[in-house]
Homo-oligomer: 355 residues x 2
DNA sequence: ATGAAAGCGCTAACAG
DNA sequence: CTGTTAGCGCTTTCAT
């Protein structure tokens, strides 16, 4: 596709082609070239074209550091990671980074990553990255209900994009997956199979996705005309272990559920274990629906019913949104959600009649 | 600890403290300040101190972009990811990034991450990052036996550090964990328990770690005076599924092993499954030793015998090594290995006598 | 619509 | 030892 770039120089860094080279080759001045490249309105269409063609042909690309010194923009997107159990165990991160990197690079952007240990440290990391011009804006993974990052960045007018939604959308751009729809569909699917006692295990309640998924579950129950038994609802479960514990509670209740909907995939795996420990067969004695998608399929047996989330695509979307934001687009126009695909891989079944 | 940095400005980017500000405040010229900050030898100790104190106090930090335009150095470490099954499923990446970020930031460095899809794309990613001065050097995860990255970067004299060793060490810096020792110890441990038929399932053979671990296994067998049965040796297994398949082959052999050593942790999980499918009890009918450490313990039951690898620490080490390399230290002095801790969590046991 | 010139924040000869 | 003077590659007034 792209014409192959020249090889690296045998020694040291390449002596790049500069704006002056292009200007000289075209018999114009640097300023004309600069304005042509940056889409200023006072440049004739013909010269703009000549310049762009020459730039392409001479393989000229403005040095972002040199631009940064005047403009403050360095064509790099910032990502600040906060380590938690939640994310650690999954393909999520690698795929997500790949998506971000891909989305960024198509527009000539690059990715700067930092990790924050704890909350006090968090704002410092942002400040440093911003102060030093290491990032023109930030991608914030896992939007929280009360998100300190949003407060910090919004107040200071630093551009950012959320992975996840926000109750107060002022100044927020985001990409998110409509997990609530999936939860709702899961309930309806189970209700159609005849289930009436449906349990729910929610994810980390500090995150907005959990609020939304809970609402989706409730909406599904309401639509199916089913009642909510508070004893069959658990929350704040994000790991397999959490799922095991939560499911144990539900299954050992006086009147246990015949189906359980989980907001998080690994939690569903925990439910499998709890069920198996009690001699229950998934898809027969108990129906389980998990969310998110453990892609390699090596964990679940029998197959987990799941809604796939494409982390890579999320990364691409977020990078693109942030870049558009940096180009001056209004936040209101930069909000996007995507649906989740329902996949029953056989973990749901009819209501058990031995009761 | 650190005195809290000033808040972000209400609007736009902070008007930073420049070198001129410092110079003016001290009644000297920019060049003196510059040289004092960069440790030039022709600056009196007294002024160096005055400058450093003033810089600290005025919260001055040279703008890396401005420096870069002259020096080419932007104080940022490059990391190019190649997605593979191998890495996807694990905490590895998050911890590793955290370590890199931590190691880098203590020296005022930052992390630039990119992802490469395939081999053709790979060199392009390096070139762009390097050409555009987005990275002063690179961290290369998972050293390979014939590593195209090493060839590319060594030839062009781009600084880099390997996670993993290299047969031809010319110009290479690295950090690695001595997995071969762990493999050896595992064999000796099993031999001591009386095992004579010990199988081995190696990891991805394109990586140097696999070569080394194989050698470790062989060394252990030799030291224990045991013979190698080629039928009990498998390789190129990196996932649970791979482990399941490989173990099936070993266990279904005419004269099956009483113990299996795995080079990769998830593979050991696969062995568990294959064993369970055949009605074998781990630690009783079959001993299994895995490598690497699935930290959360939620996967293995009964506990897997494992050797922990601290991904975070590896990140810190690698960042530190690369920064030292960038400061001009010779590659030969920048090679470091760390031992692996042996932990028998109960997955090994005596030789079964029902045979 | 384009050129001339100044300057961003910093480093690096070259003087003295 | 320190100051003077040029730039680095690029953007951005201000003229024309």
């Amino acid at each position: 596709m792209a014409s192959h770039t020249t090889l690296l120089p045998k020694k040291g860094r390449a002596s790049r082609v500069t704006i002056s080279d292009v200007a000289d080759a075209l018999g114009m001045t640097k300023s004309t070239v600069s304005r042509a490249m940056n889409g200023y309105p006072d440049i004739s269409e013909s010269t703009r074209l000549r310049v762009q063609r020459a730039a392409e042909q001479m393989n000229y690309q403005p040095l972002s550091h040199a631009q940064a010194i005047k403009t403050g923009q360095t064509r790099s997107l910032g990502l600040v990671l906060q380590l938690s159990d939640h994310d650690a165990q999954r393909p999520f991160l690698a795929e997500f980074l790949a998506g971000l990197s891909a989305g960024a690079s198509t527009k000539g952007y690059t990715l700067t990553v930092a990790a924050a240990d704890n909350d006090t440290h968090l704002s410092e990391v942002f400040q440093n990255l911003w102060r030093d011009g290491k990032a023109d804006g930030f991608i914030l993974p896992r939007a929280m209900v009360k998100d300190p990052r949003v407060r910090l960045l919004r107040d200071t007018e630093v551009p950012f994009v959320l992975f996840g939604r926000q109750a107060d959308p002022t100044g927020c751009c985001w990409f998110d997956i409509r997990g609530e729809d999936a939860m709702r569909d899961a309930v309806l699917h189970l209700a159609e199979l005849g289930h009436r006692r449906i349990g729910f295990i929610n994810g980390g309640e500090i995150y907005t996705y959990a609020q939304l998924r809970r609402e989706g579950f409730l909406a599904g129950m309401a639509a199916a005309g089913l009642e909510i038994d508070p004893k069959l609802v658990a929350g704040d479960s994000v790991t397999r272990r959490d799922g095991d514990a939560a499911a144990a509670r539900l299954l050992d209740a006086a009147n246990p559920p015949t189906a359980i909907v989980c907001a998080v995939d690994h939690v569903a795996l925990g439910v499998y274990r709890a069920a198996t420990d009690r001699g229950l067969v998934i898809g027969h004695d108990l129906s389980v629906t998990g969310y998110d998608g453990i892609e390699d399929g090596s964990h679940a047996q029998p197959p987990l019913t799941t809604f796939a989330v494409d982390s890579r695509q999320a990364g691409v979307e977020l990078a693109t949104l942030l870049i558009r934001r940096l180009s001056g687009e209004a936040p209101e126009t930069l909000r996007k959600t995507a649906g989740a695909t329902f996949l029953d891989r056989g973990s749901t079944g009819p209501v058990p009649n031995h009761n």
